[in-house]
């Protein structure tokens, strides 16, 4: 318990250091651009692949569970849309990104820590926490909503393709289903969750990397911890945000 409280305190102290005034905006701007490419653009591929197959599987599973003739077939499209909007494109994609981006952030910062690169920054008079972590948080907060939107579009396309290709639903019924009783707020809800999850992934992973002590073994452990703790926090906040935003 004491260890948890100590880590919790250190996390907030680190965030206070991260959000202190940057030394030079121009340098931070360049660094944020780099992170947008590294953490955002380079995650588009995995997001597309996961979302496509996720949409396809949701459609097929909904179809096989609603074979009863009393259910109209357009429900398959509706089910696919709502599952993707409400849960999959925000939460599942966030969990995947916690694995990909989270481990990358923790290992990058952790390696910098054990090879004294962070000490070098501090010694130059640079706020290392802010210089290294703030651009990652900003890049994640800015880009992850786009990844969610991409995921929604690709997921629904995947569902449509799987449904029509296997003949479980016609194209017209699927399109009618995804338009039926559409609530635009679901997109807002998904995007709000994404912003919270992006912050969790970037900050928790950075925290794990920043306080590494030791060598490569500890960097590996920090990387694993970053993924595990980020994922647990995402699931916890998923429950909290759902209750707050949908109740």
């Amino acid at each position: 318990m004491l260890k948890f409280l100590s880590s919790f305190g250190r996390y907030w102290l680190l965030l206070a250091k991260v959000f202190s005034k940057p030394e030079k905006h121009e340098v931070y701007y360049k660094q944020t651009t780099k992170e947008l490419i590294s953490l955002g653009l380079r995650s588009i591929g995995i997001t597309i692949i996961i979302s496509f197959f996720m949409g396809a599987v949701i459609t097929l599973q909904t179809a096989y569970n609603t074979e009863n003739p009393i259910y109209p077939t357009y429900l398959i499209g509706l089910g696919c849309r709502d599952s993707i909007l409400l849960e999959f494109s925000s939460t599942i994609v966030a969990l995947i990104l916690a694995g990909k981006v989270g481990s990358s952030i923790a290992s990058e910062i952790g390696t910098m820590k054990v090879t004294e690169q962070i000490d070098a920054l501090e010694l130059m008079g640079v706020n290392s926490a802010s210089y290294l972590i703030l651009p990652k948080i900003i890049a994640s907060l800015v880009f992850n909503p786009f990844l969610t939107l991409i995921s929604i579009i690709v997921g629904i396309c995947g569902g449509w393709l799987a449904g029509t290709a296997t003949g479980v639903i016609s194209s017209q019924d699927f399109i009618y289903g995804i338009q039926y009783a559409f609530i635009p707020y679901y997109i807002v809800y998904g995007l709000i969750k994404t912003v919270f999850f992006a912050f969790i992934i970037a900050s928790v992973s950075s925290f794990q990397g920043y306080y590494v002590e030791g060598g490569s073994l500890e960097v590996g452990r920090a990387s694993t911890k970053a993924v595990v703790y980020s994922s647990v926090m995402i699931l916890l906040f998923n429950v909290i945000l759902t209750q707050l935003l949908l109740s």
Partner: protein, 252 residues
Amino acid sequence: MIRAENISKTFGDREVLHKVSAVFEPGKTNLIIGKSGSGKTVFLKCLVGLLDINEGEIWYGDTLFSKLDFSAKKEIRKEMGMLFQGSALFDSMTVEENVRFPLDMFTSFSYEEKLERVNFCLERVNIVNSNKLFPAELSGGMKKRVAIARAIVLKPRYLFCDEPNSGLDPKTSIVIDELIKEITDELNMTTIVNTHDMNSVMEIGENIIFIEEGEKCWEGGKNEILKSDCTILNDFVFANALAKQLKQSAGT
């Protein structure tokens, strides 16, 4: 001038430094020597503020550095350059970007002015045509020299070197030592070198502090080392047979 007064540092229950005092004068190459694990690196990191001290005071000129807050320390740190044991070059940056980094961060020079300064520093440490290489593509000696170039690019008043010769062959070590000495003289810096390399001691040691188990045991110049009657120092400095012979011949 840097002045350390009765510095003590503990990690948990273990006291790593015990009331160490020293004065490091400008224009001199000051050496901290001692066995591995004697507390040299901890002392150096306390001096630059990377570790907080438990007792004592650290003065930079007339400023009590050890009592300054984070932002005030940052201002003094801009006058420091440090060569780390593993060079600590930024992996994701090229040689040029590494050396240019402090200029990007703390000056309003144009790109051309920065490039001119970077090239001057790189030439000063004999690194040419390597601007676009990444640290992973450099040899150990080149990494150290690039790290020296980065350390001096802002013309610091204080230079700290943590085991600058570790992992280098004797010839390259001498090149690095000479470079540190020349740069110290040119910029009239207060240079503190942490080492257990006896070649460095005899090459550049103007003021030497010997630390044993966290305590300062001896202080003097390189010529005084040969005549010292401090047993612990002699055991450390004249550990091998050749050095023992040298000591004996100096004594006779």
